[in-house]
Symmetry: C2
Subunit: 309 residues, 2 copies
């Protein structure tokens, strides 16, 4: 009888240039660690949060809110303690809240003997995500629980598709250490867009999905464009245009805002190319006032998983 | 030395519910026949057009306009005569002008010894299409020359993708014998759409492309929706809502306007299902004032082709 598990809760990239609100993929180079422990006493407790001064209150922490959702649905004859070791900075744009929201739900489900399927777990986790983003979306949650690339066709009812991962695809991320409020990033988006731009965007998304199925890297390069969201959000990210043009010149397949920013991601064919892109990103920010972190990652086919038993 | 060829120029369905202006597929049950003949005398002539009182003037017939485009580019030391036997009614919404535009271009290219590739041929044919539709698009042309399902990611420069055809996919078409002016069908479209609807549409298009790759018929059914164009254009098509709901109830995977209408297409899994859908379509129109034609077709992987030498 397992009473405690430790979980790796990976970071994720949502939107992916042409797939605003529907597309996402899972990273493996960075993620939070969570320990979930079954207790005889009923109820939930977040007993420890390390990193970034987050709240231990169940109702103010996304991991708590999502944990409550699954716990109140399952009504088990036990309780759970949660320990959170955050490595993904909240507000960095690589799915920090999604990792916490899915972590507690995934862990509790394992300790309950796998009562729920992935769609149900995503629905519980969406309750936590809603606390952070004030909106119902699953484009960061889906790649955490399914791994790889996912397309969320619909959120109500949830309809999640797993798209193939071309084997040589690598991701480079730069996180400029500035704060972009998710609410600002949402509010700046227009309610309406031109039909012409929308056609460009869905042509690109359809093409990108085809490119993932066929491992057509040149087509990925042509499709990885965002004519809808990036023109609005890039103003919050200092040196975005410089980073993007330098990164594309140094051989990346595409470069765009990760989630609602401020992190910027680039996709490359092969690790060497991704490392070169990382150096390029660093060189743009090096002589500026902005601090930054960078890393290179593969696209994780595993998603969230238990790291010891 | 071949001096004369006869060509089958297939009908096509553009837009395909979720893929406005980018997606199309090729039919095999209906198409025009064209004869292209090399002449010693330089110049082009349309010497015969059978069906639908179309003009024999090079400048007033889409086949003439596109023929001029390839002819003036190639500047060959010979001329061509064109005979057109129209079976696809102009204005029916299943690519009548595209069939004519591509037919002459394809035929002349064969008699010139295959000087041009498919992208170049599509560019020439677009000149003809522009005469009929007053806009630059290739969503009917691409499936004629490539066969199957095509996605036109971009028209300038042309970027055309071939998407796999699930083997059990059948099409049913009903053509209500009414006139919808292409200009009306264009003018009724809004210049701007809501971001929310656009997200729904690109989620569906991405999912439909994934469904074609994975032969996932249930996903095709969930994805074949048009929240952008259909609400505006359906008013031109009498009994559209009735046909659609009856057809979906009788088991079709999806049902939407073909091109800019008035033809309505439905996709089904298997020929028996497609035949049942045809009967359903007929039953809706049977007791109305509207005359109609219906047919069932596979999706042609061949596209335009020579039928004798």
């Amino acid at each position: 009888m397992i009473n405690e598990i430790t979980i790796f809760c990976p970071a994720t990239v949502a939107n992916v240039a042409c797939g605003f609100d529907v597309l996402g993929f899972c990273l493996d180079a960075i993620g939070d660690t969570m320990i979930i422990r079954k207790t005889k006493v009923k109820g939930l407790k977040i007993i420890h949060v390390e990193g970034f001064n987050l709240s231990c209150s169940l109702y103010e922490n996304v991991a708590g809110v999502s944990a409550l959702a699954i716990y109140e649905h399952a009504k088990p004859n036990c309780g759970f303690e949660i320990e959170i070791y955050k490595h993904i900075k909240p507000g960095s744009g690589i799915g920090s809240s999604a990792a916490s929201a899915m972590g507690s739900v995934f862990g509790i489900n394992v300790l309950l003997g796998h009562l729920y399927n992935k769609i149900e777990l995503t629905n519980f986790a969406m309750k936590g995500e809603a606390l952070a983003s004030k909106s119902d979306h699953a484009d960061n949650l889906a790649p955490i629980i399914y791994g790889g690339f996912t397309l969320v066709r619909n959120t109500s009812p949830l309809d999640i598709l797993q798209i193939p991962i071309p084997k040589d695809l690598y991701v480079t991320i730069i996180h400029p250490q500035i704060e972009v409020k998710t609410s600002d990033a949402r509010n700046i988006l227009p309610d309406t867009i031109s039909l012409k731009d929308a056609i460009t965007q869905w042509g690109n998304l359809g093409s990108f999905i085809h490119a993932l199925h066929t491992s057509d890297y040149k087509l990925m390069q042509r499709s990885l464009n965002d004519v809808i969201i990036e023109p609005h959000r890039k103003q919050y990210i200092p040196y975005f245009d410089k980073v993007k043009s330098a990164v594309l010149e140094s051989g990346a397949l595409g470069c765009a805002i990760s989630g609602s920013g401020p992190s910027i991601f680039a996709l490359s064919k092969g690790k060497t190319a991704a490392k070169k892109v990382e150096k390029t990103m660093q060189s743009v920010y090096y002589n500026t006032e902005v601090s930054y972190d960078t890393f290179v990652s593969t696209i994780s086919s595993k998603g969230i998983h238990i790291i010891n038993l």
